[in-house]
Each structure stands twice: as C-alpha cells, then as structure tokens.
Symmetry: C2
C-alpha cells in the first residue's frame, strides 16, 4: 500500500505547503527518488533558437549525467530523445530499454556509465503549452508498468497543478499591486495636468490632502477610506480646468455669472474622473466637496445625510486652506480666521466632528502645512 499511497500523499503535502516554485520542484524530485528511482529532474524548454531543455531541479544519482546530456527540443538528434518528444507532443514518453532505442544514441554511453536503463518523461502543462518536463530514470529495464505509470502521471499532474497555483498566486498579487499603483499614478497624472497650468491649485490640493487625511485619521476612518480621501483631495479642483484663467485669477469681486462659472468646476471634475473605476468614490467626493450640511452648498444642495463623510471632511480642509492662502482678490486671512469660520459654521455648514478634529489638530496637536 505504501508504495502507491505514500508518494501521492507526500506529493500532495509538498504541493499544499509550497511557497517557492523551486522548493516544490526539488521536493517532488526527492519524493520520486524515494519511491525507488535512480534519479528525477525537471527541465524547462527554452523558447530561444537553441531550444535547450534547461534542468531547474533534480534529485538522486544525477552525477555528471545531466550536465553532459545537453537535452534539447530542436529538430536535431538531441531533440529527438524522449524529453524533446514530450515537449513537442505534450504526451508522456516512455523508454523501457535505452539499449534498444535508436533515439537514445546521443546518451547511451553515458547512461550505461551512470547505470540508467529506462525512463519516463512527463510533460507539465498549462492550458496552452508544455512549460516543463518531469524526467524519471530507472536502473532497471521495463521499470514502468501501468500502475507505476499511473502513479507517476498523477504525481506529475499534482505537481503541474501546484506550479500553476503558485504562479497564479504570485501573479494575482502582482496584478493587484499594479492595479493599485496605476490608480495612484492616474491621480498623479491628473494632478500633474492641473499643476502644469495652475501651480496655485496644485499646492492647494496637496495641502488639503494633508489636512483631510489628518482629520480622517482623528475620526478613526478605515485606512482604505483615508486612502480614498487622500487621492480625491489631490485632484478635487481638477475641474477648474474649465474655468478661464482670467476668471480664476480675477483680482476684484466676481460677478454672479463668473461665480456660476466657477461653480461648474465640481461637475467638470466629476466628469473627468468618473470613468476611472476607482475602488473609492473619488468622483462623488469631488462632486460633493462644496455641499454644506444645511443644503446651502452646490451643485445639488445636498443635506447632511446625503453627503459622504469623505466630502464633509474635505470641505472643512478645503475651507481652512483657502482662507489661510493669499488669493488674487485678497490677502491671506490667517489661521485664526479660518478656524473661527469653521467653528461658527459647525453643525450648520460643516461636519461637527471634522471641525472639532481640525481645531484640535492645529491647536493641540501641532499640525501645520509645510
């Protein structure tokens, strides 16, 4: 019983526990050698013009046999042995007696020297190709009867599955990282587009991001929500691209029409980012950052319960930085005036906990813009 069950059971165990592909391959070769074979190795068929089959793991009395074997899967004598045929056909190749197999000619002398008499080569496949071969040598001729071959096929199948699973796992992580990185880079690129045209807005967006994140952290929002607030803040005024520079930078008081024009920036910002499938409601936050609790904000006059907490936090940070900054039409109003504004509007215009956190950040916790 052990002869058949133990290798399979141990094969499963190494596959289930594997973390590194190379360790998995070596462990599987060792299991096969422990079954009673002379040696086992795994080779990777290279896609370059030489078409060599490169050994990447092995176990048993490999000696210098493998080193000298120069196995290939090209159309040449060393590519017509069992390994080359397994790569090209995708089917197992059994050679029960090297001494009577003409395709073994390139290796027969070395095989005798290393007491190898027969072999089974099993392709390891994914949906589209043979990505490796598992090659098993016996000291005996006719070593591979039907039961034996079934066991080896099953080990190869489990190994092949394990390799694919390890690769899927690491590619899953890599693609998730690439996706998240690309979303951050997207925000960076959009912010850079604005920055090129309007350095004031760029600096403002970075300061709002810093303050909004600090407030969100005080309010103990999740790290994921904080990341959303950070990215939304970095581009919250991107829609100002639609407002003519003359109006944006007008030194005097804005006409009603000019103010209407400025107000369009939240909708324009929403439209710029709405088609990026962020895992945070970036577009909504941008759209809502001028809404006020009592419904007096724009563009939709939403009331408190309809406004995202992220937008409420950003509104506070936005007002504070805007008041602390010099604008074309006025001097900077200073920290005291900014904090007085949000304190006066707390509960009416601005989210009370965000206001309280913001004041505490500046007054007690040493928060400052760089």
């Amino acid at each position: 019983m052990n002869r058949a069950l133990l290798p399979l059971s141990r094969g499963n165990e190494v596959v289930v526990r594997a973390i590194e592909e190379s360790d998995l391959l070596s462990a599987m070769c060792r299991i096969i050698v422990e079954v009673g074979y002379r040696m086992a190795w795994v080779g990777v068929p290279q896609q370059d013009t030489a078409r060599t089959v490169t050994p990447v793991a092995w176990a048993g009395e490999v000696g210098q046999y493998l080193e000298k074997a120069h196995i290939s899967w090209a159309d040449e004598p060393r590519g017509h042995g069992p390994a080359g045929r397994a790569v090209r056909s995708g089917e197992p190749q059994i050679c029960q007696d090297f001494s009577t197999d003409p395709s073994m000619a390139p290796w027969i002398e070395d095989a005798k020297k290393h007491r190898i008499a027969s072999s089974a080569v099993l392709p390891l496949k994914n949906e589209s190709s043979v990505f490796s071969i598992l090659s098993i040598y016996s000291a005996d001729t006719n070593a591979f009867d039907a039961d034996e071959l079934n066991l080896l096929r099953e080990l190869a199948s489990v190994l092949s599955f394990g390799i694919r699973a390890l690769r899927d796992h690491s590619e899953r992580e890599a693609f998730e990282t690439r996706w998240r990185t690309s979303l951050e880079a997207t925000v960076g690129a959009i912010a850079a587009t604005v920055e090129k045209r309007d350095p004031y807005t760029a600096g403002h967006q970075h300061r709002v991001a810093k303050l909004a994140v600090a407030i969100a952290r005080e309010l103990q929002l999740s790290e994921n929500a904080i990341q959303g607030i950070y990215l939304a803040s970095l581009i919250h005024d991107v829609g100002k691209i639609v407002v003519p520079t003359d109006v944006l930078n007008k030194p005097g008081r804005l006409s009603e029409l000019e103010f209407q024009l400025i107000k369009t920036h939240v909708q324009a910002g929403y439209e710029i980012v709405k088609n990026v499938a962020f895992p945070w409601p970036i577009g909504e936050i941008v759209l809502q950052h001028h809404e006020r609790l009592d419904g007096s904000g724009y563009p939709r006059g939403l009331r408190s319960e309809a406004i995202l907490v992220e937008a409420k936090i950003m509104a506070v940070a936005d007002v504070v930085d805007a008041m602390m900054s010099r604008r074309p039409y006025r001097a900077a109003l200073g920290l005291d005036a900014a904090l007085e504004e949000i304190a006066n509007g707390s509960g009416k215009l601005y989210h009370p906990s965000a206001v309280a956190s913001c004041i505490s950040l500046f007054r007690q916790k040493g928060f400052h813009f760089d």
Copy 2:
C-alpha cells in the same frame, strides 16, 4: 489499498480538473460518500451578526437533516456543536458518538431519525481564516480512527488548496482586467482633462488615434503595440495645457518665442504621463511625436534609428490631420495637400512605409475621418 488510495487519487483528480468552485465542492462531497460515509457537506460561516453556517454543497442521504439543522458559529447552543467549534478554533472536531455528546443536544433527535451516529468536521483554511468547513457524518459510532481521519484530513487539505487555487486564478484574471481597464480609463481621464479646456485638441487626438491605428495595422504591428499607439495618440497633445490659450489660438503668425513655447508641449506631455507604469512606452511616444527622420524635429533632434516606430507612425497621422483641419491662423488645407506633404517628406522627414500606408489608406482603402 483502494479504500485509502482511491479517494485521495480521485480527490486530486477533481481538484486538478476543477473549473468552478461549486462543482469542486460537490464532487469532493460525492467522493467522501463513496468512501462509505452517510453524508458530507460543505458550509460557509457567514460574517454577519447571525453567524450562520450556510451549506453550499452536499452529497449522500442528506434528506431534510441539513435543512433543519440551522448550524451557526455564534455563542448559542447551535453554535457550540462540532461545526461551530471547528469554525472558531480552526481545528478538526470529531464526535465519535452523538448520543453521549451534550453539545449535540440541538440535533440529537433528527440525527437519530436520519441514522447519523458520529461526525468529523474539518476546517478549510487560508492564511488568515476558516473560509469553509467540511462536515462528514457516519451511520456508525467510533467511525473515525486515526487512519480514517488522516485520509479525511488530507482530502480536506487538498480541497482547501484547490479552492484557494481556483480563487487565485479568477482573482488573477480579475486584477489583470482591472489593471488594464484602469490604464485605459487613465488615458480617458487625461484626455477628458484636455478636452474640457480645448475641444479642438480633443477632436484632433481622436482623429490621429484612428489614423495612426489604421497605419500601424497596415504595417502589421502587433495588437499590443497598436493598443499603445492608440492610447498614446489619445493624449499626445496633453502637454498643450502648458501653452496659454492666447498663443494656441493666435490667428496670426507666431513669433519665434511663441513657437518655442508651443514646442514645450511634448516635454510637458511626457512629464504628465511618465509616472504611470503603462506596459507601452506612452511617455516616449508622446515625447517623440515631433521628431523627424533627418534629425530636424524636436525636442531632441533624434534621427531615424533613435525614434520609436510608434512615434514615426503617429508623426505621419498628426501632420495629415493637422493639415486637413482648419486652424486659427489658416483655413483647412485639404487631403491632397496633406498627402503631398507626407509624400514629399517621405524618407527625409517621415517613415516611408508609414507614408505609403497612409496614402494607400486614403486613396485605395476608403479610409476617412468621421
């Protein structure tokens, strides 16, 4: 031998071949019942407040037992049975005789009715949690000796690995898709930012994209390279954001200084997109699209061999669309003039095969802008 080997071997087979998680779970339950158990089922511990353990697959004489069992992992009588304990502890729970186990009180009557006398519940785990349980019932008391339990543990381990592998595989695909989609959406968002400010550039970018892709296809570039040309074309003039509208739209002849200002758009475009890790050289293509074969282009005066083929193709499409369009400082010059320009510059300024393909597209193949 079969009693131990066959289930394991069949378990491996269903895991290796599985495409859908639900099919895999059902198949594994059937294998366990075929070993000789009365029934087997897989349950998912829900994370909501009710903390039920929801059956998702089963096999054997399940009858109405499962339906009435209402198993949970909450702190209540139905959460203190073997299943609830397995979820909370992450360890297998064996109950060799229901009739002597007080924790089985909620189920004992129904268990008798369905001739169930003992059970083994095996947790299916990933790195961080128990995502399912595998529950196995026997008609006999003391059905689970050490060998039997080893077999079941191994089946559970293989099943658990198979589920994780299936999930990794589908998440790998999902994240790759999300990543690719987000890159396209990034280009869309950058293009939208420009479009909001400058509708002429937006239309121009779309037309250049259409023509450049058609030329690239004629030249038999890979689909991947064509995708890169498409996306680069859609934002190739994004750097014009740095050029004041007054200069961009100046009706008269540009001064040397104004022309220098316009030329900065390629570098500005490069800087906007350079931090997005596109799998195509989008930034380089944007940077090079005003280079000319003889080194007379800008910004770096590169010669033919140093210019990306994508940029050479885009240069041809860009010149043709610019000449065919009305500009603030001149009327549209028309198709004939545009094709004459690239024909005259072929080999000196413009990539000869791209020129030939472009002319053939318009003259023989009915290409037109919408």
